[in-house]
Symmetry: C2
Subunit: 138 residues, 2 copies
DNA sequence: GTCCCTGCAAACGTTTTGCACACAG
DNA sequence: CTGTGTGCAAAACGTTTGCAGGGAC
């Protein structure tokens, strides 16, 4: 698939310096940032970027289907740019580190569907990461 | 299993009128309320209950493991009293209605675990409920 | 040049907290 | 009686919005 920035330009999306930096921040594998983290990283590259613009941009990308809204961790929404491949999440309950994983998706038997029209399944494996297993307990 | 209120008393949990009403609100099947909904329902039974107490109590119950914190819907945390049976959730993306369902849980192959110690799996089926399928589209 | 995007600051909705009083044990 | 739970109001979050100025196209 074409890179995200290209796809966006083709849609007639106005490409500003701020948006470019935000999109670049949301590029790569195992990226699962919250808005304030995106803001922090974007600002490190381009100081003249505001939190409002980060939120506006992230929401637009979600509306366009170019970004996935995923599990809240620590009260904050997280965003995931991996829309290309179906995947699930493995999240450390201690430090919040999150990885994309691929297992098989659970189905839902007809008699459990209660007449609902199934759209999607979201799977999150809650776990403890190697670093946090080693760390001292409180 | 013994009823929740009994279990709580046995733990030496101080049982006040407010707490009892909140716990009663969080009793039953397919209960997936947000804090403000718990507050509303509790207040209908016992007007002298405050939102702060609702939050305090819900958080305590979660800490005790007597309540599950589940998916955010519409920006609000939801709580689930069904700790007795492993289950998953079927949620309507339009109206937020949520049901407990039982399908089989997805496992995670060893080579996908990245050294994490697996604790739990959270599965949410996103769907459209019968009422919302019938409803007129915007 | 136009229109859309931007930063700022204020507003919003949810959740938490500090404090004096009240009541379960 | 004592210690913990309570209501209230204020604060602290994450997120959204209104507005005047600026920059992409």
């Amino acid at each position: 698939m074409e890179p995200l920035v290209v796809r966006l330009r083709n849609r007639g999306w106005r490409l500003t310096a701020q948006r470019r930096v935000i999109v670049e921040t949301m590029t790569g594998d195992h990226v699962h940032l919250a808005a304030d983290e995106v803001f922090e990283r974007a600002r490190a590259v381009l100081p003249e970027v505001s939190l409002a613009t980060v939120y506006n941009t992230l929401n637009e990308l979600v509306d366009m289907g170019e970004l996935l809204e995923i599990t809240h961790v620590d009260g904050r929404r997280r965003f995931d740019p991996n829309t290309a491949h179906r995947h699930q999440h493995l999240v450390c309950v201690d430090c919040g580190r999150m990885l994309d994983v691929v297992g098989d998706e659970p189905g839902l038997p007809d008699e459990q569907r209660h007449g609902f029209e199934l759209l999607d399944v979201e799977v999150t494996f809650r776990a403890r990461c190697p670093d946090c297993i080693g760390a001292v307990r409180a």
